[in-house]
């Protein structure tokens, strides 16, 4: 993933991101930190192709997103998993169907969908909630479903916006181990968080946004990126 002099503004408002230049190599793991309003969510939206930058260029998987026709963005999007800060679970679908969405969208046959989703929901401790609707679940359970949905298709790039914000420390550790396991298997990760303690315990480099500008803190000794 490569950003070259990227800036972003919404409508006629001020630039929420400016002069962002970065290059994340495949298989890297970065924390994305910064105060509220620093532009973390906007940066993630640019990465997962929900927005076009006001200026500059965004390249994903060695392809300049701005130069690709719309239909060519579909396979790129299928390689990206997203954990939204507000989960964005579909209320009328069960936990099973929410997690199954990326596979069904990609046209995976129902037999494989069933086995993959069941296995993953067991792994995140929600095997007994397959048919539960999001409205009946706790914040932590919703978050685990959102994470399961993001990783179910085995994405090359996983973007997570505060993925551990609603779970206890034990579950946060467990989820981070899942992310790190995926990272070891080759998935590139960008994890936005306010949790300084979590960042401090991990060796991964940090992308720090402040006032719409980016600073990159290198990996601490013993880091994996």
């Amino acid at each position: 993933m490569r950003f070259e002099n990227v800036a972003m503004r919404y409508g006629a408002g001020p630039e929420v991101l400016r002069d962002i230049t970065m290059h994340l190599v495949p298989g890297s793991f970065h924390f994305l930190t910064g105060p509220s309003g620093a532009g973390k969510t906007t940066l993630l939206r640019l990465i997962y192709l929900a927005e076009h930058p006001t200026r500059g260029s965004v390249s994903l998987f060695d392809q300049d997103a701005a130069r690709l026709p719309r239909r060519a963005l579909v396979p790129l999007r299928r390689r990206i998993g997203i954990v939204f800060q507000d989960f964005r679970l579909v209320d009328h679908l069960s936990a099973f169907d929410n997690v199954a969405l990326p596979l069904r969208v990609a046209g995976i046959d129902e037999g494989r969908v069933r086995s993959h989703v069941t296995e993953l929901l067991e792994w995140v401790g929600l095997a007994d909630q397959l048919d539960a609707r999001p409205a009946t679940l706790s914040g932590g359970q919703k978050q685990r479903i959102a994470i399961a949905r993001a990783v179910i298709a085995g994405p090359s790039l996983l973007l997570a916006d505060e993925p551990t914000g609603n779970v206890d420390d034990a579950m946060a550790e467990r989820l981070l181990r899942l992310f790190e396991e995926m990272n070891r298997l080759g998935t590139t990760l960008v994890l936005a968080t306010h949790n300084e303690a979590l960042v401090a315990r991990r060796p991964h480099p940090r992308l720090h946004l402040d006032g719409g500008r980016l600073a990159v803190a290198p990996a601490r000794a013993g880091g994996s990126a």
Binding site: Y48, L49, A50, E51, H52, R70, R71, L73, V74, P75, L76, R77, R78, I80, I82, R88, V90, D91, H92, L93, S94, F96, D97, L101, P102, R104, V105, A106, E110, D131
Partner: protein, 298 residues
Amino acid sequence: MRRRGLDIPFDRDGSGRFLPWLIALMVYLAALATSGALALDRALARWDTGLAGTLTVELPPDASSGTGKGSLAAAVRTIAATPGVRSARPLTRADMGKLLAPWLGPDLPPDELALPQLIDVRIDLAHGVDLAAMRAALAKAAPDAVLDDHRLWLGRLAALIRTAEATAIVIVALIGAAAVLTVIFTTRTGLSVHRDVIELLHLMGARDGYIAAQFQRQALRLGLGGSLVGLALALATLLALVHAGAAAAVLGERALPLPTVNLVAFDWALLCVLPAVAAALAMVTARLTVLRALSRMP
């Protein structure tokens, strides 16, 4: 087995609640307009066929009596001698009485009215008849005779019916356009209401066709349900008119002047296709509306 429904929660969307009823009303009106056009077309064809093998020759009132009697006989002979004519029969006073009964009543005074003499001419349709030659021969044998091949009357009637049919077709087209606009409005509302889910599917890598398929399935479901209700109401109305027409025929002149609906099996079948057409129209409109809206997403 877990049931696989639509990803977009249309059931929680109030915008689609009225669509089936609007489509039911539109299909009802379209079915009545279509059946009206079909009934007029059938009536015109029936009159055309009924009159195609006949001619009427009219002579002045005194042709059947006194000195004029010779010209009636001459006219009948001349017509009968024309190639292609099967028969030429002067109408009797009793025949004229039956023809005029609707206007003058059944007790027509036998000889008090000066009525023209009519000759009913039957033509062999397989061979046809040279009307110009018949007119020329009649002009010599009975100069006062007037040959009426009904074309003028039928032509005017046909023009009137064609205008009514065109009006019915325009009405059906306007109803179709209104249905399309209704579906567009409902679909756009649905796109707005379900923006979050649509963006989620889009970001997961759903193709535009995948999202459009959800809307088109919903439009098909609502459109088919509504149009079946509309068709059922229209068929009930038409059957009521058919029965009322039959009852009026039995009562004769004492009945109220009700429109008669004479549709053949093909016409009824055509009406039964209307729900499929309406549902397909709704489905295609929804699909195109969604694809157009999605094309504006990044």
